[in-house]
Symmetry: C2
Subunit: 725 residues, 2 copies
């Protein structure tokens, strides 16, 4: 074992000779140290780490996974999985995010930088034991120390590098379905959104836009004049976001296939031939995204669609999902043939049924192909979790080459820590279940801690049928998630915001308008999180260390100023809330209509109507609010509303930039720093305008602990820095 | 349509010429009436009923089904289904319980007495519309009016006839697993329970006790001396409860098969040959339980096991579950053969996979066999929901003939209203998911409303692996359910009460002892519910009509005196509770250690440790508590503890009987009526001893609204009726 000091309070422990994941961007310096901090290590066939948890320790992290914000009691496996049943007994979803934070008698973070199978038993087998089993003896382990959870997270986010930043329009509402199958249908959706006056920035193209599910092709039949159609939709206010799949169809005349074969860009089987799996189009090869040249080749292919006017993509099926392989299918079919006319009993019948059931995403298949990593052949199983990551990296590196200073929307299904620098993720094929709203709530801060800021769930649920109430309640939460997309599967009930009754459409319109009015805050908080190696969604325990806050699983802090308490139960007329301190409650039904209640510290119940979204402004914190438009580019935030809940003083930094380039990286962005100080019964407001030319006026509503409101307006251009009484 | 008045406030509307279900035991008198009350009727291809719900109406009922106590927002289908994934999108489980209660602007019950497919859309498609679609035009509809929910339920439970009563020992804790596969394993379980001092009344035998899964056989290899083994176990304090399956193995020398064939007792296919399906043993025939003679024949077969000392059974796979039929298997295998070496794409691949996936419980199969009902051949699909019902009726009618005055334990997986007179049910193959504790909580009152009092879930979950905390929390709820059984599936982690750490075993021992100490209350409340056409578990809305009570989904009234508020969330340190009035809280960790808090009306949060069970005694209500023993027969309740929370006065009727015969039906049982009246700062206690000879002493703890406790003891034999100050 070699030990490195990466940055202050962060150590790396290197075991054996690991494959490089590029998850961490700092190299660090080798130091003299021998023992892994906190854990006992068993170095037998596999590496096993053990930590004795104390009774009240909680464990955070693991990104995209099941169960709670507090992972204690569960068992989890990092192995990117295309499993569309996110039931509570599952151990893996699409992402592999091996970062945990222990918040207890001891406070620290641990990152297992190993891209194969890792098992986390967090007090499941033995209630006080955290046991991590790594399927290998070559890996890096990082231990992150810090005085507070925030401290630990800041350090971890620093070493893994800054988050991906999408274009600002990607913070708008987005409408999707598998599939809006042709231009006519897409236009119908756009027109319905316009007719119902529902703001929206983009419409998604799922697999049916392609010709026979071939990447970077367009079905001529369904989208006869794609380029002009893209323009027409953009003129109406909608960007089209096509899907790209991992598997490349095996078809003689198909350019991508031919080039891949010619250049040896596909993963290979034991014999060195391109590995064959089957997905949507039938048999495919998998581009070897772990091979630098193959990655570059595939990444530049996005140009085909960019040239047609496309500004954003989603990368799918990149665990990689496998429906079947020839090996598996042959075995199953042979077993079926043998079974013909037999009297199958419990054993032989389930054996047969399982042979078909287990065709997809079979471990044997994952063990039977190889990557070319810097000239070395590496078995897929050992680097499985890097595949989707590097597909998205291919896209991002491609974009950088194609249009270096343009931000593209890109997000992925599969991921590994490190991919957060290249794109976002969505949380995969959930269901229209109330339980999955709660899962969505719990997953967001966990994802943020692992670097994934641009993320969100399929609002309303992908599989199963939704009713109006579920869509409303889910949308009321998703409006706070950076990726805000309504998406559903083929064969399910339509669930667009206008698909139900008029009253529900009205509620959803107001909900989505609220999102647009919150863009000044959401974008500021997102960009500051990126800049400061911070998170956007946090569990209460990040700010409050009382007895109850650490166990709260259904309330989140959003950015610096807000706490949200979504409704995720059917027929609910309100909910219970733990108030770690007094806050200002705005039950938002229409962003233009604001009234406030001061809610006291303690356990509280609040009534919430179906059209209301409870937004809590924390004590001595400030919310900035604009107004809505039908898409992000049309937002006119020359005036902003500033809502402040002030006991003594509060400060807020409003951030903005051009929204489309990487100029912010060179320091080209604006800030308005707002300071409010209570003096007797009035407030002193101090505005520090750092480069802002867009916002002309701030309208203040300042509320004190007794609920008294004072309103003021301030012209910004004229008072670049000044005290107002 | 012919209309009958069944009893006061209950009408039957007969459409066409329905198959008799024997769900309702009253015939009623034909009256002159034309219109179905409350509903509009569309009589097209199917019968469709519509009711316009008001905004705040809630809808209760549907027995064994998914979603909430309040069914509004959901869509449900009555079609007994062997589906082991009780996920929120499922429409059917094992039972078909077509009874709903609307609690809103109008209050009434509706029972759709039709044993085929019925669809209930309760505001799912249109949020204000209740729509019931019946797959036929021959059926009875009952409308039950009443002034209160209790009133409606009492009338409904009256017309469907009194509930099954199990022997008293069936209220003990029961231990099960698929499978304790041989005598050695069963004895090991018994010894472990004894060694760990965990009370238990019975151990279950799942399918492996049989010879090749043949009903009414015993594996000679695994249970070589069954009769003496049964006795040995009974001497240790455990009854053995074998499973009986619906399908009868096709095997030339097997007696049941031969007799069934000879007498034409099996369901037949289109050609009139015995219908062939496949289940555990491979190919089977289904006894035609809807044929009276076949039912009697099968029912008397239970004598084979009764003669070996068996006192209880569980009837399984009686939806009936079908793994496959020859038709289905042939089609799937043929498709597989055609697929060999083909390049299957999305369509052809899922077509193939689904053909195996859909082999089991396929609608085509259910449509392809027939019953002989009083000489008439009836397609199974039309009477599907009567099958499990009549299997259990077969058993119960058999018992009556075999030992007329002995109560047997019998419960079923599939059921229909009416079956509640013959046996109980368990709620089938759930999972070790926290969500399924909550589902269990919600299902219990719904089942009670449909007549099923003797019921309970697989405590700890059947499928998936459980951890200690889940088993503890689930057991803490199940201790209140009449059927109290820990059951799990093959291949899952062991989950017996002693299977975890010592501390967890201690907690579970105390939890199960609490159950035994509560037997005087639980048995009294169960038997009074039977006698009075009442329910044992009730939603809060049955007693409290405030705004919040009607929406409470995770608190239940248990009998007349208690409210329970189970913990069903992992890592919880307490929970929120709606208190519709002040109540007395006992956080029970050890039934011998009692202290109390008066909890005020309103929304409350209470801290609850892992070893604590919150039990609320309602205002002016009384709990009677005995002490534990290692099984029910060993209980020595010559002294009872009476805990009373008294504002002004309270009354309680303690019930008891011999626990093993039906003599209670002839009025042979005892009661002790306890009246407590507050007079100034003291209490007047009045005891009316009606035939009790067993209880000698009552120890009172009477608590007032300020939490003051007065303790008194009363010798019963000497004061049959008297006032004590």
């Amino acid at each position: 074992m070699i030990v490195y000091k990466i940055i202050d309070s962060v150590m790396k422990y290197r075991f054996g000779n690991p494959v490089s994941t590029d998850a961490v961007v700092f190299k660090g310096n080798e130091i003299n140290k021998e023992k892994l901090q906190y854990f006992t290590v068993e170095n037998q066939q596999f590496l096993k780490l053990k930590y004795k948890m104390h009774k009240n320790d909680i464990v955070l992290g693991l990104g995209e996974n099941l169960k709670g914000i507090n992972k204690r009691g569960g068992v989890f496996e990092s192995y990117c999985s295309d499993d569309a049943d996110h039931t509570p007994d599952k151990k893996s979803l699409y992402g592999a995010h091996n970062f945990l934070v222990i918040n207890g008698v001891e406070k620290f973070g641990i990152f297992i930088d190993y891209p194969g199978r890792v098992l986390f038993d967090i007090g499941f087998t033995h209630k006080d034991e955290l046991e991590i089993t790594i399927n290998d003896k070559n890996l890096d382990i990082y231990i992150i120390n810090g005085k507070s959870l925030r401290d630990i997270i800041n350090r971890f986010l620093k070493i893994i590098g800054k988050s991906y930043v999408p274009p600002k329009w990607a913070f708008g509402f987005q409408q999707s379905r598998w599939s809006y199958q042709d231009a006519k249908k897409v236009e119908e959706i756009a027109n319905n959104l316009i007719k119902n006056d529902i703001p929206c920035d983009s419409i998604y193209l799922d697999i049916d836009y392609m010709e026979d599910f071939k990447d970077f092709t367009i079905s001529k039949k369904r989208f006869p004049n794609f380029k002009s159609f893209v323009k027409k939709m953009k003129d109406k206010g909608f960007r089209l976001i096509p899907i790209i799949d991992a598997g490349v169809k095996i078809e003689d005349d198909y350019e991508i296939y031919k080039e891949g074969i010619e250049n040896g860009y596909f993963c290979v089987d034991e014999e060195g031939n391109p590995f064959i799996a089957a997905v949507w189009p039938g048999k495919v090869h998998f581009p070897d995204f772990l091979n630098k040249e193959a990655r570059r080749w595939f990444g530049l292919k996005y140009k085909k669609l960019i040239d047609l006017g496309i500004d954003g993509f989603w990368n799918d099926m990149n665990e990689p999902a496998i429906f079947y392989t020839e090996r598996g299918l042959k075995e199953a079919v042979d077993l079926a043939k043998e079974s013909k006319n037999k009297n199958l009993n419990i054993h032989s019948f389930f054996n047969l049924k399982d042979s078909f059931e287990n065709l997809s995403n079979n471990t044997e298949d994952y063990k039977s192909f190889y990557h070319n990593i810097d000239g070395e052949l590496v078995n897929h199983d050992r680097v499985h979790n890097l595949y989707g990551y590097n597909m998205t990296r291919a896209a991002a590196e491609g974009f950088k080459e194609i249009e270096p200073n343009k931000r593209f929307l890109i997000f992925s299904r599969a991921s590994y820590i490190g991919m957060h620098r290249y794109g976002g993720i969505w949380t995969g094929d959930n269901h229209s279940w109330w339980e999955h709203i709660l899962l969505n709530i719990k997953m967001m801060p966990s994802l943020n801690m692992c670097g994934f800021l641009y993320s969100g769930a399929d609002t309303g649920g992908f599989s199963s049928d939704a009713n109006a109430e579920l869509i409303i309640r889910w949308t009321q939460f998703s409006l706070f998630t950076p990726l805000f997309r309504n998406h559903s599967a083929m064969g399910t009930r339509n669930q667009e915001p206008y698909a139900f009754d008029t009253e529900s459409t009205d509620t959803l319109r107001n909900t989505i308008r609220l999102r647009y009015s919150l863009i000044p805050y959401i974008y500021s908080e997102y960009m500051k999180a990126v800049k400061n190696h911070d998170i956007y969604f946090a569990p209460l325990s990040f700010e409050y260390d009382d007895k109850y806050s650490r166990y709260v699983e259904d309330q989140l802090l959003v950015g610096d100023s807000l706490m949200v308490t979504p409704i995720y139960k059917e027929n609910a007329i309100g909910r219970y809330i733990w108030m770690p301190e007094e806050m200002l409650l705005w039950k938002a039904s229409d962003y233009n209509y604001r009234d406030y209640d001061v809610i006291n510290k303690g356990h509280q119940y609040i009534d919430i109507n179906i059209n209301e979204i409870p937004i809590f402004i924390r004590k001595n914190k400030i919310l900035v609010l604009g107004s809505h438009a039908n898409n992000i580019e049309k937002l006119d935030n020359t005036q902003l509303n500033v809502i402040a809940f002030v006991d003594n003083k509060a400060t807020y930094t409003y951030y903005d930039d051009d929204g489309i380039t990487y100029d912010f990286d060179k320091g080209i962005y604006s800030e308005i720093v707002i300071d409010i100080e209570k003096i007797d019964d009035d407030y002193r407001i101090n505005i520090n305008n750092k480069g802002n030319k867009h916002v002309k006026k701030l309208n203040f509503e300042i509320i004190d602990l007794r609920g008294n409101i004072i309103k003021k307006s301030l012209i910004i251009n004229r008072v670049e820095k000044g005290d107002i009484k």
